[in-house]
């Protein structure tokens, strides 16, 4: 069962086609939704939450129809909006506990879950202060906490790193990653920055102007362009030459050789060559090309040439 599935999903606003016959099918995991501002990311999330009716087409989340089972979907998902949504004169504890109760948790459990969730997102003593005095980073954490507090199966994060400084951005991405990996909650995160998606997501949906550009696993996107970095105690250039002889793309300089991953699995070949040449293997690391390189074809070519 796919986590999210859409068929010919279309949303027409007066004068604007926000989503245009979108076909998506994604499996559970951390999913990145990439697109420029105005590409239709927020519209898609709102449709998936059952907050906006689609003009045409169908969409299902956790195997439930967004048109008819929006409520049941919203019970099982969490939503972190892009915009500011916190009342400034309440404390994080009070506000998140209130929303937990609105999500159906009993009062005492709501308080416990709130304390736990706020600790998870890294909010400690500040949680008793009024949110009006919070930094953007703290506000984003509370927004994430309210989406997680009722322990959903899936959370929608709309531009979670918006407005954060680089350090805050790193921390937020880390949290998103942990949510997906350690907490076992599926995540759909939208962003206009490919680099962010690449760091935390397993799969990727790229939309532009309401149309699907590409969708698939992040590894799929990058693997074909990846290369292995092999550090040896010995002559890397000689190792590269040996590998080229066996039909691999390789290049060596000093102690480091780069081996292309385009062809057959090169791991055995590398091992055999190193053993044959009696070198010591120091490090074997997969170098992925960044997604930004893929979507900028000319630079991707440049990278390929370097290998």
């Amino acid at each position: 069962m796919p986590l999210i599935e859409t068929r010919a999903l279309t949303k027409q606003y007066p004068g604007v086609m926000a989503l245009n016959a979108l076909d998506i099918s994604v499996e559970p995991g951390v999913i990145g939704l990439v697109g420029a501002n105005g590409a239709g990311k927020s519209t898609l999330i709102k449709i998936l939450l059952g907050l906006l009716p689609p003009t045409r087409g169908t969409a299902s989340v956790l195997d439930m129809d967004v048109r008819t089972e929006g409520r049941a979907i919203r019970d099982l998902v969490g939503y972190m909006p892009e915009h500011d949504c916190l009342p400034p004169d309440l404390s994080a504890t009070e506000f998140v506990a209130h929303l937990a109760q609105v999500s159906g948790l009993p009062r005492v459990a709501a308080r416990e879950r709130t304390a736990e969730t706020l600790r998870h997102v890294g909010l400690y003593e500040e949680r008793y202060r009024e949110m009006g005095g919070y930094s953007t980073g703290m506000k984003q954490r509370v927004k994430l906490a309210q989406a997680l507090v009722h322990d959903p199966q899936l959370i929608f994060l709309d531009e979670p790193t918006n407005g954060l400084d680089p350090a805050g951005r790193d921390e937020m991405l880390d949290l998103v990653k942990r949510t997906g990996r350690e907490f076992g909650i599926a995540v759909l995160m939208s962003s206009h920055l490919l680099g962010e998606i690449e760091r935390v997501c397993d799969s990727l949906v790229v939309i532009d102007g309401g149309k699907l550009v590409r969708s698939g696993e992040v590894a799929e996107f990058t693997a074909t362009l990846g290369s292995l970095e092999v550090e040896v105690e010995g002559d890397a250039a000689a190792l590269a030459a040996a590998l080229i002889e066996r039909g691999f793309e390789a290049r060596g300089e000093g102690f480091v050789a780069h081996v292309g991953l385009n062809g057959d699995d090169p791991y055995d070949a590398i091992r055999d060559c190193i053993v044959a040449m009696e070198m010591g293997l120091v490090r074997l690391e997969q170098r992925r090309q960044s997604l930004e390189d893929i979507f900028r074809p000319e630079s991707a070519e440049a990278v390929r040439e370097r290998v």
């Binding site: 939450l49 909006p81 948790l105």
Partner: protein, 293 residues
């Protein structure tokens, strides 16, 4: 190694919630209670408490005055009677609605909290009902509470508690009925106006202005145009309607003013108030049903 082990003891990691999940009713109840507390600024700073609690106290002043007079031994001297009570505090009631209604609805709009409610299992109608319930209940503190104080106070300072009770218990029905209906009526009007704007100041003025202006327009119509059209002008004034159905519930005559000039049977005011409140609530539900996020 030992460090890691210690770390894992303190950091329990994320735990799934395996506990009980309550139904819709409890979720709506939580929202209702939250709204009711917010109405009086409970759990907020002192600043948010001053107006609502102050107005609630002012609304009870006539009751306290009445008890003091009664306790001085002036037997049978009722300065403030139950059926007149709302007439004396009507401006307090309107002020309270004008302060609280924008607080209940405008806040969620202003801070965009609405999207956090609507992205949960809660339905839009449930949101509107919870807010309406909170507003109406908050108003009960100004409509029923002073009446209760006055009734009990009169009974306690009199010669015989049971005697007073025996003579006056028939008042309890109308007191409760009028208090509840006034609260439902004013809450519906206040909320549908407050729902139109996220700006608190606009909403407050938007509630105060019609109440005050319509009072003048309505009494001018009733006193100056001596036919059915002029008399119908009484229904333009929600406060006169309120007074009208209150007197009808208490089975008391109006003692002058436009209400007597208009000379409609009290039941008409009652029916009109019910209809108006129903329409206002229906519009409120529609407003949130149509609200795009």
């Amino acid at each position: 190694m030992s460090e890691r082990a210690a770390g894992s003891i303190f950091d329990l990691g994320y735990r799934r919630y395996e506990g009980r999940r309550l139904g819709r009713r409890d979720a709506v109840l939580a929202l209702y209670v939250h709204g009711l507390r917010a109405s009086f600024g409970l759990g907020r700073r002192t600043r948010s408490k001053i107006f609502p609690i102050g107005l609630a106290i002012v609304a009870a002043v006539p009751a306290v005055v009445q008890i003091m007079i009664a306790s001085l031994g002036a037997e049978g001297l009722d300065i403030f009677r139950a059926e007149d009570y709302y007439f004396y505090i009507e401006i307090i009631l309107v002020l309270f609605v004008a302060v609280i209604a924008p607080e209940l609805l405008g806040r969620d709009e202003r801070h965009a909290t609405l999207s956090l409610y609507f992205s949960r299992g809660l339905s839009r109608s449930e949101y509107a009902w919870a807010r309406y319930g909170a507003m109406a209940t908050a108003l009960l503190a100004l409509t029923l509470l002073p009446q209760a104080i006055m009734f009990l106070g009169n009974a306690l300072v009199g010669d015989s508690f049971t005697g007073y009770f025996k003579d006056e218990w028939r008042q309890i029905g109308p007191i409760v009925a009028a208090g509840v209906l006034i609260s439902l009526f004013l809450a519906s009007i206040g909320l549908i106006i407050a729902a139109q704007t996220p700006r608190r100041a606009f909403a407050t003025v938007g509630i105060l202005a019609p109440f005050l202006l319509l009072t003048f327009i309505s009494s001018a119509l009733v006193s100056n145009i001596d036919n059915i059209v002029g008399r119908l002008g009484i229904f333009l004034n929600p406060l006169a309607v309120m007074d009208g159905f209150t007197r009808w519930l208490f089975n008391a005559e109006s003692d002058g003013g436009p209400l007597m000039e208009a000379a409609f049977a009290g039941g008409w005011y009652f029916a009109f108030a019910l209809a108006l409140a129903t329409i206002a609530v229906a519009l409120l539900l529609r407003h949130y049903q149509r609200r795009s996020l």
